[in-house]
Amino acid sequence: MRKLLMSMVVLAFVVAPAALSAQISGGSVGASATILNYATVTTLRPLAFGNVSRSAATTKDAALTTENGAARLDYNFAAQITITAPTLVSNGVTLPMTLTCASGATDTNTDYAAVAGCTFAKLGLPTSQTSLFLGFGGTIANTDVVTRPAGTYAGNITITIAP
């Protein structure tokens, strides 16, 4: 009997390797999606110089909400913002102006900071859609005013958002 038991022990070793071959195995499948770029520009208020002086330059501060024109940008990608200054025109006559820019996380004086030359560095890749507020100001020289006919001069500031 003892030898028989010994034999069964030997048998157990013979069979065991077969059972070990039935192991857990696995595989994997990728899953992917691409979220498209999105951007909007909403005008909050126009840049309004009002009545401009013939004796002194008229200036509006880009970083003051009581003076600036403002727009809100919503975007979800690493955006490059480009600003094109307006050409103010009345009945075919242009009135030169210099444009100044500011940007901030909110439309408040405390958040707005000047952007030199209205040249924006490329914005970072956000982790979610985010907003940026742009303030616009500028100066109309009185020397240009005196040589222009009376009238309402208007134009558009163009904001371009690109990846």
Binding site: V29, G30, A31, S32, I35, L36, N37, G124, S128, Q129
Partner: protein
């Protein structure tokens, strides 16, 4: 000289008998094997922020697929991601799997299953079985742009 085998011979014969008895089982256990021959990624393509997009398990172009071959019966379980991740900058896109987002395609039948609970496959050594996985991604209204991805891990246990 005795006509009866000694106790040593009896043990040897018993061992031989047991081995012969046991051998038919051994090949069956050795034959337990599963191979993933081919995979296809679950592809949601492009979507806008705020959009929900579903790829059904029955969609042959965009569903995830594993084509299996081998022999044996396996419990199949899935380690399902809850988000797809964007690199760089760590944004996440929610993904979910419903009760009908699994589909097993065998030679003569298709059977839906819930990938959250898994299924059982029986491979016959000849015909492949295709496991298909669909799902739904939900882009938040503030979802950042980019390419999001994750892995679905499939485990086969005998």
């Amino acid at each position: 000289m005795s006509a009866r085998p000694s106790s040593g011979w009896r043990s040897l014969l018993a061992l031989l008998g047991l081995v012969l008895f046991a051998r038919p089982w051994a090949p069956a256990l050795h034959a337990q094997s599963v191979t993933v021959d081919r995979t296809q990624a679950l592809a949601f393509g492009t979507l806008w922020r705020g959009q929900t997009k579903t790829v059904p398990a029955g969609d042959p172009l965009y569903r995830g697929e594993l084509v299996l071959s081998g022999k044996g019966k396996y419990n199949v379980s899935f380690l399902l991601p809850t988000t797809l991740d964007r690199n760089p900058a760590g944004a996440q896109l929610t993904i979910s799997f419903g009760a009908a987002d699994g589909l097993m395609i065998e030679k003569n039948r298709n059977a839906a299953f819930d990938p959250n609970t898994g299924t059982v496959v029986t491979l016959n050594g000849k015909d492949p079985i295709t496991l298909c996985v669909g799902g739904t991604v939900i882009a938040a209204s503030t979802q950042a742009a980019g390419y999001y991805q994750a892995q679905i891990t499939v485990i086969f246990a005998p």
